[in-house]
């Protein structure tokens, strides 16, 4: 009896449990990381304000983005001991490991100059097998090597220098794959050298409160001059920073923490507004909201699929997935808002932010669709698209700081907020429609779910999304034209990115007109929507890979090949959708129908129930049937 009761409660409150669990998970991840007693306070060192690439940011961001570029990780993993260390520790070790010819810095950090702790850190990622062999390294899982390993017998650094000079003279298209990998590694070594010689970042503030900050190397040299003339002030940032690094170099933990705490307390009083943004950014970095959203979207997608498989629990599982998707969506939204606050910009400013915003839009659209249709399809489509776009964003974040400054012509919030947002939401709709098309094809071929009204329902959902997409893409494209007219004096310049946007508009117009003309029905719309993903991916990424146009704000080597591979995958799914209907589980005559187990005869109760669930899911019968949450 009591067991039955527990099951009843679980059945009834499963969505609430899901919400509670999701909230708890985020709450746990949001908790600030404090340094262990008696250890260096790396967390607080991350709050040291610096000026880098045109904006004020915490040292934490400098450490993470540079390590991300070099190692594709935001933390340093020590493969010999199997331990993780914060990026701030890596940065501190780099900054106190001066190069052998850098006598100025060697005089300041004697311990680091003798031991070079950072030179043994295996962080430099070399993913090209040929380059690994050229440098006489051993191929290793994890692909990461230390400076000492790369330098080897003292010849490799010189070799890399000479090679990068030679390759630097070549034009992009004349470079081989190894060439570009050599350039990449040389660039990564350069970053480490710049940090170790203290030419970057800018840590010493402008004495007059302006924007001309100095790197530590220059700041401390000037401070030493002042000591000679007796004008030096011990609270100057350069001096404090020197003391801080020297304590780290000497391993004096308590003193290090002490100096840091005093300096940060003083800063909180002097520059409260900058420090507020800095603290928020450190919190944001440590929380890594997009990373956790990404993981949870996977669970939600699995939950959505389970709701189809477990017929008797279909409703609570679907509602649980829907409800936790709502919570994840709120965190996704908050994370975008924090980025907007930190940047003082509309949500989309570069490829990275377009990816997280497209993901956000997909989830938002799917929440709305699921609210109306309640059949679990939008939950799966929304969480899968959310997951995919956040993966793309993660890959794009390997390029470094994702909150980079904008070129002068983009420096306008009005057009960023209207044109760019509209276009990006237009991409969102084509992705959602495309994934619904994939759902149609896969569910139709492998399950019975599209029997009865299922097919019409799913098509109606796709059609609604396409109509919205038509509106957003068209308005977005035309707004872009108006911006171009306003900024450059021409409405339409046949620029690759403009043409890409036009292709999306024509593509959706073609699908809609095909439907109105009766040329395609349910399946045709699904197949064309899947192909629409290819058109959108061309507009989103492909046009950027053609070279730099007026619009290109991001480009990556070898990315075109990846794009083509992914698009071929979508084309294959669309091709699958063209398979004759007699092979489709959902459309073959009932007498020859087989269940998912492969056995002959009528389908299993589970699939039948699922089939009814999607068909009946069309309209909620009454207000009571609406989900209790969200």
């Amino acid at each position: 009896m009591s067991n039955q009761k527990i099951i009843d409660v679980l059945y009834r409150y499963l969505p609430w449990f899901a919400v509670g669990l999701t909230v708890l998970y985020f709450g746990y991840r949001m908790m600030p990381q404090r340094a262990a007693r008696g250890e260096f306070n790396f967390h607080d060192f991350g709050r040291f304000p610096v000026l880098e690439k045109g904006r004020y940011k915490p040292m934490d961001t400098v450490a993470r983005t540079n390590l991300m570029i070099i190692a594709h990780r935001q933390a340093y993993y020590d493969p010999d001991r199997g331990t993780y260390h914060s990026a701030n520790k890596w940065l501190l070790d780099v900054m106190t490991s001066p190069a052998s010819q850098d006598s100025f810095m060697k005089s300041m950090f004697p311990t680091g100059a003798a031991n070079h702790p950072a030179w043994d850190y295996k962080v430099f990622r070399i993913e090209n097998e040929e380059l690994v062999r050229t440098l006489n390294l051993k191929w290793r899982d994890g692909l990461r090597y230390s400076i000492n390993e790369i330098n080897g017998n003292n010849e490799n650094i010189g070799f890399l220098e000479a090679e990068s000079k030679r390759i630097g003279r070549l034009e992009g298209k004349d470079r081989s794959l190894v060439d570009s990998k050599v350039m990449e590694l040389a660039g990564h070594l350069h970053i480490a050298m710049e940090l170790s010689s203290h030419f970057a970042p800018l840590v010493v503030p402008d004495e007059n409160g302006g924007d001309t900050w100095k790197p530590f190397r220059i700041g401390i040299a000037e401070h030493i001059q002042k000591i000679k003339t007796g004008e030096a002030d011990e609270t100057e940032t350069a001096r404090v920073y020197l003391e801080l690094l020297r304590k780290y170099d000497a391993g004096e933990k308590a003193e290090f923490n002490d100096i840091l705490a005093k300096h940060l307390t003083a800063l909180e009083k002097q520059k409260p507004s900058i420090m507020r943004a800095i603290n928020l950014e450190v919190f944001f970095n440590e929380f890594a909201p997009f990373y956790h959203c990404l993981g949870l979207y996977v669970f939600i997608a699995i939950g959505g699929c389970l709701s189809w498989l477990i017929a008797s629990w279909s409703k609570p599982i679907r509602e649980a997935a829907f409800a936790s998707m709502g919570v994840v969506f709120l965190v996704h939204t908050a994370a975008i808002l924090i980025r907007m606050y930190l940047q003082g910009r509309a949500p989309v400013t570069n490829l990275y932010s377009s990816a997280i915003f497209i993901g956000w839009g997909c989830v938002a659209a799917c929440l709305a669709i699921e609210w109306i249709y309640q059949n679990g399809i939008a939950v799966v489509v929304g969480s899968v698209t959310g997951f995919c776009t956040l993966i793309i964003a993660h890959i794009l974040s390997l390029d470094g700081d994702t909150m980079e400054m904008l070129v002068a012509v983009l420096d306008t919030n009005f057009w960023l907020a209207t044109h760019v947002t509209c276009i990006t939401l237009g991409y969102t709709t084509t992705f959602v429609a495309g994934f619904m098309g994939i759902a149609y094809i896969l569910l139709g071929i492998f399950t019975n779910m599209l029997r009865k009204e299922g097919s019409a329902t799913l098509t109606r959902m796709t059609y609604g999304v396409l109509c919205t997409g038509m509106f957003l893409s068209f308005v977005g494209t035309v707004l872009g034209g108006l911006w171009a007219d306003y900024s450059w004096g021409r409405f339409w310049g046949w620029d690759p990115k403009e043409n890409g946007a036009l292709l999306i508009v024509i593509w959706i117009a073609m699908i809609l007109h095909s439907r109105w003309g009766g040329l395609v029905k349910h399946r045709g719309i699904a197949v064309l929507s899947v192909l629409g993903i290819i058109v959108t991916s061309w507009s989103w990424f492909g046009t950027n890979f053609l070279g730099y146009g007026l619009h290109s704000y991001g480009r990556r080597d070898g990315a075109m090949a990846t794009l083509v591979m992914i698009d071929l995958g979508f084309a294959a799914i669309a091709g699958l959708g063209c398979m004759p209907l007699k092979y489709w589980q959902s459309f073959r005559p009932l007498s020859t129908m087989t269940g998912p187990s492969g056995g002959p005869g009528p389908s299993t109760p589970a699939t039948l129930a699922a089939a009814t669930s999607i068909a009946a899911g069309t309209p909620p019968q009454s207000k009571k049937a609406k989900p209790k949450l969200a």
Partner: protein, 439 residues
């Protein structure tokens, strides 16, 4: 629009424009008055066929391919070459290389394809026919009618831009005033006879006439011209003993240029083409030698003067970008560039200019910067770029100068289509929700 005639002065007369698809489209949409009922029926059946949604979809697919190939083609050619070849054309030969995503090396064989004017015209016929036979003027059709009307306005706007819009640049060094606009997409061979200090007599041969092998004779020209080679874009290279120099007179004896591929439409630096030409000049059978003329020598770049003496008359000959004069001048009083702190990335650059029009009594100071242009006498001046002249070390600000009588059409079209979509899709959504409530 290319000029195709020799002219005097800086503003040559434009030839009449090409046929606009609007004219025959309108004819197709309105069948002439026919008394015989069979003929009327026949016309109606044709109209029905023209209005087919199948045709619409086929045209959409064709336009998709055209736009896609027209984008890929920009990797090998300049954007305006592509625009004129693919979009502002009735017919285009698309190279196989482009058809296969620029993966083929062979650039010689092509497939024929309808150009932008053909597809656009056909779309217009299809659309008007559809409205003639299918759509009744009814409230529930208002959205669709608005959308389609807006699209027609937009296509019309593009045609107006194609026929009448004019783009050029004003390059102004700090502290200097400029009264002419340079059109870098068109070149001209200017033959300038200095009459006195204030007056020059100028005869201009448009660059489009300088086709390889062409012979140009005209009573207004002091000599006959035979084109040995015209280069749409060229590199000024170092004199090298191995290279065969074709010039026999003038600066070409000392300087040499080499043909270069047109600046690609996807070029990161958005450079411009710099044309050059080797021309054989003669007068009544008397050979004057082969000369090298190049925009490199024009005042846009090196500012080197080549003179040809004929019967005590001195002619300055220069191949330059087409220039047109204005009756006002713009002086660059100051230029400021602001970078993001600690970087070389410009945050803002702006020209402080003084606009002087003596005739109209205008003399005012204006700031022109990104997203903040200046408008004067039907032309709009935009901040385009900035460079430092290596010869004078002066900062030179480039203003984009645009005249487009059709500029308002896209705005109008946007409003009409946007409204139409709101009405149409709003109506669809309302019906959908309504049906759900009824259930």
């Amino acid at each position: 629009m290319d000029q195709t005639a020799i002219s005097e002065g800086e503003s040559p007369v434009k030839p009449p424009g090409d046929a606009v698809p609007v004219s025959f489209a309108a004819a197709a949409a309105q069948p002439g008055p026919t008394p015989q009922p069979e003929l009327q029926e026949f016309a109606l059946s044709i109209l029905h066929r023209l209005a087919s949604l199948r045709i619409t979809v086929v045209l959409f697919v064709l336009s998709l391919l055209l736009v896609f190939w027209g984008t890929l083609a920009q990797q090998d050619a300049g954007v305006w070459t592509v625009v004129n070849k693919y979009f502002r054309n009735f017919f285009v030969w698309v190279p196989w290389r482009v058809v296969f995503f620029n993966n083929l090396e062979d650039a010689s064989s092509c497939i024929p394809f309808p150009g932008g004017l053909t597809i656009g015209g056909a779309m217009l016929i299809n659309l008007l026919a559809a409205h003639a036979v299918r759509f009744k003027l009814a409230w529930n059709r208002a959205g669709i009618i608005l959308i389609h009307a807006g699209i027609i306005i937009m296509m019309f706007g593009e045609v107006v831009t194609y026929l009448y819009a004019d783009e050029g640049q004003m390059m102004i060094p700090v502290g200097h005033g400029v009264n002419h606009v340079v059109h870098v997409r068109q070149s001209e061979l200017a033959i300038i006879q200095v009459i006195d200090e204030k007056k020059d007599a100028v005869v201009v041969v448009p660059g489009s006439m300088l086709q390889d092998g062409a012979k140009i004779q005209d009573s207004r020209l002091p000599f006959e011209i035979e084109v040995i080679e015209y280069m749409a874009n060229s590199k000024w290279i170092e004199m090298d003993g191995k290279l065969k120099n074709r010039a026999t007179r003038g600066m070409g004896l000392r300087e040499i240029v080499k043909a270069a591929p047109e600046v690609s439409g996807v070029d990161p630096n958005q450079e411009v083409d710099i044309p050059s030409a080797y021309l054989r000049l003669s007068r009544g059978g008397q050979q004057l030698g082969i000369w090298l003329f190049s925009a490199w020598f024009s005042d846009s770049y090196a500012n080197l003067v080549q003179e040809i003496k004929l019967d005590d008359k001195v002619f300055r000959v220069v191949l330059r970008y087409k220039q047109t004069n204005r009756d006002f001048h713009i002086e660059l009083t100051n230029f400021k560039q602001e970078n993001y702190p600690g970087t070389d990335k410009p945050k803002d650059y702006r020209s402080f200019v003084r606009l002087v029009d003596e005739k109209a009594g205008v003399d005012r100071d204006v700031q022109i910067y990104m997203n903040a242009p200046m408008t004067y006498k039907g032309e709009t001046f935009y901040q385009q770029s900035v460079k430092t002249d290596p010869r004078t070390n002066l900062t030179v600000s480039t203003l984009q100068v645009v005249r487009n009588p059709g500029w308002v059409l896209p705005y109008l079209s946007c409003a009409v289509v946007g409204l139409g979509m709101l009405v149409h899709f709003g109506n669809t959504l309302y019906k959908f929700l309504d049906r759900r409530v009824v259930r």
